[in-house]
């Protein structure tokens, strides 16, 4: 299914993605010749039943899982033709991720959690700290920079995880079930933050979710099933329907 956008060209495109797990009798096809595109400045939700291949699609798009066939392009760059170290660099410079669970190091303060990946990737200490500080301010945690995960609530931990993604200044931000561990108030906060990041940073935000409460915040919703895209309407059209 081809989706067009009235004004802009997509930042991320995938064509003919196929992927299966297992061998022979246990083989199960998760992605079946899937093609899809994503635009900057938009929040796209990937929805579908459990086992429909949402997370696999996210991993393939995000340069974390090599598909059996097909290709992903970031602008004009073919992601899966890259050497592993070049791909690593591309992920560092253009991608960011928010995973299920917050994956925060227990020993680090919020500021250190956010600054650490930048610093380890080769950014100077001063620049890493400054950018981390700014990211924490943006997610509303300026008063919590010195707190460790045990001193933060679930919603605050997720905001640290969002800041850790935001600080990378990614072209594409991948989020896997960003609200699954949160109550409704914090879910609302998290999705507003992600949407805000898409708008204000012109970032392409792609979130896998089960949570129908997020739908009104997205520009676009992809519904996948049986390894293929079943519906890819812009939300405006879907709501109109």
């Amino acid at each position: 299914m081809t989706i067009t956008h009235p004004t802009r060209s997509p930042i991320l495109r995938a064509h003919g993605l196929s992927h299966a797990y297992g061998e022979a009798a246990t083989r199960s096809v998760v992605l079946n010749d899937m093609s899809v595109q994503f635009w900057p400045g938009e929040l796209t939700l990937i929805m579908g039943a459990s086992g429909s291949g949402k997370s696999t699609l996210l991993a393939v798009l995000g340069g974390l899982l090599r598909p059996d066939s097909g290709e992903v392009w970031l602008a004009e760059t073919a992601v899966w033709k890259m050497a592993p170290t070049v791909l690593e660099k591309l992920r560092f410079e253009r991608f960011a991720y928010i995973f299920q669970g917050f994956n925060l190091f227990p020993a680090l303060t919020a500021l250190e959690q956010v600054a650490m990946p930048l610093y380890l990737g080769g950014t100077s200490k001063k620049q890493s700290t400054d950018r981390a500080q700014a990211a924490l301010v943006e997610v509303g945690l300026s008063a919590h920079t010195n707190l460790r995960p045990t001193e933060l609530s679930g919603g605050e931990k997720q905001r640290v995880a969002i800041a850790r993604a935001l600080v990378m200044e990614p072209a594409v931000l991948f989020a896997d079930e960003p609200t699954s561990a949160l109550d409704s108030v914090n879910s609302d906060m998290a999705i507003r933050l992600l949407h805000g990041i898409a708008r204000s940073h012109d970032t392409c935000v792609i979130a896998v979710t089960h949570d129908p409460r997020l739908m009104p915040h997205a520009e676009r919703i992809l519904t996948i099933g049986d390894g293929a895209i079943q519906d890819a309407q812009p939300v405006s059209e879907r709501i109109a329907e």
């Binding site: 992920r91 994956n103 700290t129």
Partner: protein, 384 residues
Amino acid sequence: MTTLPRCNLSLARATLLYDWRKFLPAALSVTFAGVLMMVQLGLLMGMFGTVTVLVDSTSADLWVTAPGTDSVDDTADIASPLSALLAVSPEVIHTETLPVRYAGWKAANGTRVTVAVTGLSPDPAALACPGPLRARLCALLATPGGVVVDQSEAGKLGTAVGEYAEINGRRVRVLALSHGMRSIGTTYIFTSQQTLRGLSLTPPQNQDKTSFILASLRPEANLPLVQKTLQRLIGPESARVWTGHQLSVHSQRWWLRESGVGAGFVFSTLLGVIIAVVITSQSLRGIIVSQVREYATFRAVGVPASRLAVIVIEQAAWVGLAGTIAMWLLTWLIATLAHHLYVPFDFSFDGALAATALGLITAVGSGLLALRELYRLQPAELLR
């Protein structure tokens, strides 16, 4: 103006400080492996150091022994006239014979012990006069039939100052007690060469034989050169020329080898290291496994795996450093305690450096073993 928040961007140190309890077993296993090695080494060196007390307490520059001598307490006789040959060298100031004869000791209370009767010159300046006897006791030996025994051996010999005893059936009298002339394996009795002759411990045909010849050189003499020259002069088949230090080291090493204790030491040190590697690598692995999702998150955003490996190795190195510092302190404490309890314990600085190196290698090696846990979870698996 607000102060900037504290920001420690060393993940290794931040984790160590925060989770120090988890690292404690690893550090302690490094400490104990090191202490095990140091205490064994200290006791062994303390013990075997006493074997060469006779060599170590005299001021002779050169020692001449029978060829094929392995240890100072196990020698054959050499010809006494060799000393005249040594004196030919212009670098040699003084030479002296030192006979040591094994004999049966029988104390007044009936105690029987095999002793090494050592014949000294009753002269405080004599080359063979051991340091602890030099001030007073060597001169005292001019008294015919007089002997000196070490205070630490007096109990074993069943004697005390002023008491009589028999050596080879001849009566001797204990004139005084020395301090610090104890040796494992050999009980030294010091007497004059004249008294020694009177004890008839040497068969008549061996009267011109001695156990050692000692020589002192001019202060400016080139010791290795003189040693080599004299060895060539005497010939390798008649005797061997050593520096005191060489004879001492050679004797101690021989004891370490021959007694099997050296092998025991290497074995138990190795065992300690293996246990330390297992405990340390398991602790470090456990810590990585508990943070494997966080590490995978960093790998997902493109932090090179080599940077994360450096963090793990850095953690391991800090653990090793902490462990070895604790090892130094504990070993020092044990050495102090041993000193107070009169247990022969030699703190070896070289040994401590080796134990430190071994501790650091153990820790870093364990870190390397734990490293593969970093790859246990691929970033894509965070998305399932």
